[in-house]
Chain length 234, copies 2
Amino acid sequence: MNSKGRLYGIGVGPGDPELLTLKALRLLRTAPVIAYQSAIDKDSIARKIVSQYLSKNQVEVLFHLPRALEPEKAKSIYDQEVEPIAEHLAAGRNVVVLCEGDPFFYGSFMYLFTRLSDEYQTEVVPGISSLMACPVSLGVPFTYYNDILTVLPATLPTEMLTSHLLATDAAAIIKLGRHFGRVRDILHQLGLASRAKYIERATMTQQRIVPLDEVNPDDVPYFSMIVIPTKLKL
Amino acid sequence: MNSKGRLYGIGVGPGDPELLTLKALRLLRTAPVIAYQSAIDKDSIARKIVSQYLSKNQVEVLFHLPRALEPEKAKSIYDQEVEPIAEHLAAGRNVVVLCEGDPFFYGSFMYLFTRLSDEYQTEVVPGISSLMACPVSLGVPFTYYNDILTVLPATLPTEMLTSHLLATDAAAIIKLGRHFGRVRDILHQLGLASRAKYIERATMTQQRIVPLDEVNPDDVPYFSMIVIPTKLKL
């Protein structure tokens, strides 16, 4: 009888393959099965980040999912998508799931974790999140001392974004996409536009840093962030 | 004439030496000078994390600083502490500064960055922050979908902690130390105690996870965190 395989969710970081951790690399290289997701009709970014570390002997399991899917819809999709991974685990094969950034920080690995970790031994490896990578790529010290930091999805209503931006010391605004124009207007109204920095695809080869007022709101990718750094002068 | 040395601020992660990035390891191994800080009368945690990767040929520069020093006092200390590092850089030697967690996330490297990066070429390498490591070590999916995440230093006044905890979906409470008892009381009053998870020294060999109500408030170390994870069921 086979013993069960182990499930690993590994953060592969924001884009630069050198921002993988030593632990993620070790697990990646020794896993017989590698699983990853991609947006529908797109290549998997997570796989691209680690492609140089993969070997031809590894089985790859791909699942396609729309990005930013609401949880109720995602849950029913994952109830099915989990099956091929569960089969490998049941057959005794370890499976490494690649996660952009960090697995537990706005990461879809959590759907696999809740469905599989009771039955299979599961280990999660934290990864460099865009929350750390974006301020570093922008060259702006982010949070310090007694700062409050708030991470705000741009999908939230204007009133909620406004009240949180007024109450925090530093902020990261994520999931900008088609909400960018509205967010920029809010920042101008609150007098925060001069402190706010925009970056897209941090640490990837296509990284772009653009002054806030020069960003084309019709062309803001999913992988973008507005960083409002600490006011403290160090 | 020598050309100037380069300054590197590298995140060494939360404690597990395997959570170093490949980039941090490469820079660390090739640097002639390694600099790091420690709390007064204590060994440097950052140095301990990377000790197995250091060689005897590397010059080490240590600076002692009290933890959680207020910025005004820290600034005048750093105006002096920066000197030995500046001398190495001026003499053409590259200097790698070790930073626990991530350099720009509540990290004292920012004092060196503001004092040296105008004069010397500077590169910062993001690291695994405790913000990512603690939820992973606790095994709790942290933030998802449209969640607002707030990072709160426990040093803040009770009213401010309360209003932010009421307004957020997920939270990390840092810098607990002697504020732990007060924070726990707030969490009970707000009905958040059952969701809140406590961890100390995440990913270090001395990592401890303790139920919130069993923590001894007189014995809470600097490296501890309360994590309030997402309410979303995935």
